[in-house]
């Protein structure tokens, strides 16, 4: 791991440990939980878009697969939750592969629509054949491990952000490895990658699967936290929300995905005082931040820090 990454990671871990202690209110911690769940999906999309250059408007589909499959398995088949979550990830991976093989031949807007179509089809399937149909289904067990159930909000917060940390570590390793380099290469030139003997298609499919698995994990965590799910949480709206998180945070940096997820999750909470006008204010903030922080929050912060440092060095 590079020095900068290591430092950010340590700060990150420290923040995770401290937040529940400082905040004291389970409301704040709950906001943290949903931020963490969204961050998992956003990290996957960030690798897919920022590093491999592929657009997806179908992440909600994988998120929904994760939520539904692990809920169904744990409620109806009585499987231990960890097993159900893993099974859900496998199902999401298979679905991603089936979609990716033909879809990744498309590019740009066409790929966006193909993934959008996939997400909507999953949504319709959940609506038509999911347990409970559009009404959804409840009484899903809380997350548990080895007979110990995590019921408390703080416990759940640590579970989710612990997983975010693991996923983040995995992703940083991946991005900084030869594989990560190959992914960035795809972003630049398909043709040159082919000449380098890189199996571009296989790499793209694998990234797509990775992002789907992250989304599925997030979906399972959501289901076992809220204990009730209905298809409306897994519609196109959510895919666009995640896209927004990645763009606002900064598409070229994995930390951007995490920060973006937190910002987009917390923002509506801060806007509560505007009551019905909040949608309008929310839209305006988004528009302006997209226009003025075009690279995203994290890359801009990094630039500023670099400039400060250069300035300090120059002063000496």
């Amino acid at each position: 791991m590079k020095k900068g990454d290591l430092l950010s990671f340590l700060i990150f871990i420290l923040l995770i440990i401290l937040l529940p202690v400082i905040s004291g209110s389970t409301y704040t911690i709950t906001v943290g939980i949903f931020s963490g769940i969204n961050a998992l999906v956003a990290i996957g999309l960030c690798i897919l878009m920022g590093y491999a250059g592929q657009v997806s408007l179908g992440q909600a589909g994988f998120y929904g697969i994760g939520a539904y499959i692990s809920s169904i398995l744990s409620v109806h088949a009585g499987l231990p939750i960890v097993i159900s979550v893993i099974c859900a990830m496998i199902v999401a991976a298979v679905a991603a592969m089936i979609l990716a093989v033909p879809a990744l031949r498309l590019k740009g807007h066409y790929l966006a629509v193909a993934t959008l179509g996939f997400g909507e089809i999953i949504y319709i399937i959940l609506n038509e054949w999911g347990p409970g149909g559009p009404s959804g289904f409840g009484d899903i067990p809380h997350f548990g491990l080895l007979g110990y159930t995590i019921g408390s909000t703080t416990g759940y917060f640590y579970l989710i952000w612990g997983l975010v940390a693991v996923v983040m570590l995995f992703s940083i390793n991946l991005i900084n490895s030869g594989t990560g380099r190959a992914l960035r290469a795809i972003h630049d030139s398909d043709m040159a990658c082919n000449a380098m003997g890189l199996n571009v298609t296989a790499l793209k499919i694998k990234v797509f699967i990775l992002s789907a698995v992250y989304a599925s994990l997030a979906g399972s965590l959501y289901a076992h936290y809220v204990t009730f799910i209905s298809p409306s949480s897994f519609s196109l709206f959510y895919s666009i929300l995640v896209l927004m998180m990645v763009i606002v945070g900064g598409i070229t940096n994995l930390w951007g995905a995490v920060i973006g997820a937190v910002v987009i999750t917390v923002l509506p909470e801060l806007l509560r005082r505007f009551e019905e006008l909040d949608v309008l204010v929310y839209g305006l903030i988004l528009t302006l931040s997209l226009m003025f922080f075009r690279k995203g929050i994290v890359p801009i912060l990094i630039e500023k820090i670099k400039k400060l440092r250069e300035f300090a060095v120059a002063k000496h």
């Binding site: 995995f170 992703s171 390793n173 991946l174 490895s177 030869g178 594989t179 990560g180 380099r181 190959a182 960035r184 290469a185 972003h187 630049d188 030139s189 043709m191 040159a192 990658c193 082919n194 000449a195 380098m196 003997g197 890189l198 199996n199 571009v200 694998k206 990775l210």
Partner: protein, 254 residues
């Protein structure tokens, strides 16, 4: 090979001897790049075959052809512009490593070892092509001459038996061209890699090639050593054009 009814190449047949530098020349639109694209698998011919070390290459995906040992550069430089110089070379070696998604993500020991190995070898290659000084610069910041050299370095990084160079001297000044010639010769002599070269710079072609093929309108019009080609009448006509030939004859008469 044809594009939308336009025949780009026909009845082209030639061999490349291992360890040679073979040049492909011909006027613009003669089909040289198309030929390279067919060999490297980017285009599929309508008819005909390409063999490499006894294996058929038609209908094989470009990436697989590259892994079989044919590497190339492009007429319009196709570097990974967002990456540094050394990263470009490192990507070239990725296809030969064992690391995959899971092993990289979990940072297994063998991945770390491979990465160190790649790093070392990439620095070696950069020294070889005289770009060691610039290894941490973004590739897009290099002047065009060095970009072309870097592209050759990247092609070498894949560990090829044959490299295809598409107009490597385009946009280079005389000094850079001379350096390029040195590098290409070193590739043949020291690394024992076969080179196929498409080039317009006749000085370069004549000075380094072991043999030359001339294409015009998709057909081979001549093949031989640099010396033979220079004397070939048809080649002169192709290059200078029929009319000019007549013109010259007319001038001679008066």
């Amino acid at each position: 090979m044809s594009f939308g009814g336009l025949m780009a190449l026909r009845n082209v047949s030639f061999d490349v001897i291992e360890g040679d530098i073979k040049a492909l020349i011909g006027p613009n639109g003669a089909g040289k790049t198309t030929l390279l694209n067919i060999v490297s698998g980017i285009h599929q011919p309508d008819k005909g075959d390409v063999f490499f070390l006894g294996e058929k290459l038609v209908n094989v995906a470009p990436a697989r052809i590259a892994r079989k040992g044919i590497s190339r550069t492009f007429q319009h430089v196709e570097l990974f512009g967002n990456m540094t110089v050394i990263e470009n070379i490192m990507v070239g070696q990725y296809a030969r490593t064992r690391s995959g998604f899971l092993s990289s993500g979990f940072k297994l020991p063998f991945v770390v070892k491979e990465e160190r190995e790649i790093q070392r070898k990439s620095e070696e290659i950069l020294e070889y092509i005289n770009l060691g000084q610039r290894k941490d610069e973004p590739a897009s910041n290099l002047p065009i001459g060095e970009q072309r050299t870097l592209e050759i370095g990247r092609a070498l990084a894949t560990g090829p038996r044959l490299v295809l160079l598409d107009e490597p001297a385009a946009g280079l000044n005389i000094k850079e061209t001379r350096n390029l010639g040195e590098i290409i010769r070193k590739i043949r002599d020291e690394l024992k890699i076969t080179v196929v070269l498409v080039e317009h710079d006749m000085d370069l072609v004549m000075s380094i090639s072991d043999s030359i093929i001339v294409l015009n309108f998709g057909e081979v019009i001549a093949e031989g050593t640099p010396l033979e080609i220079q004397k070939n009448h048809e080649v002169i006509v192709a290059y200078l054009g029929e009319e000019e030939e007549i013109q010259r004859g007319y001038n001679a008469h008066t």
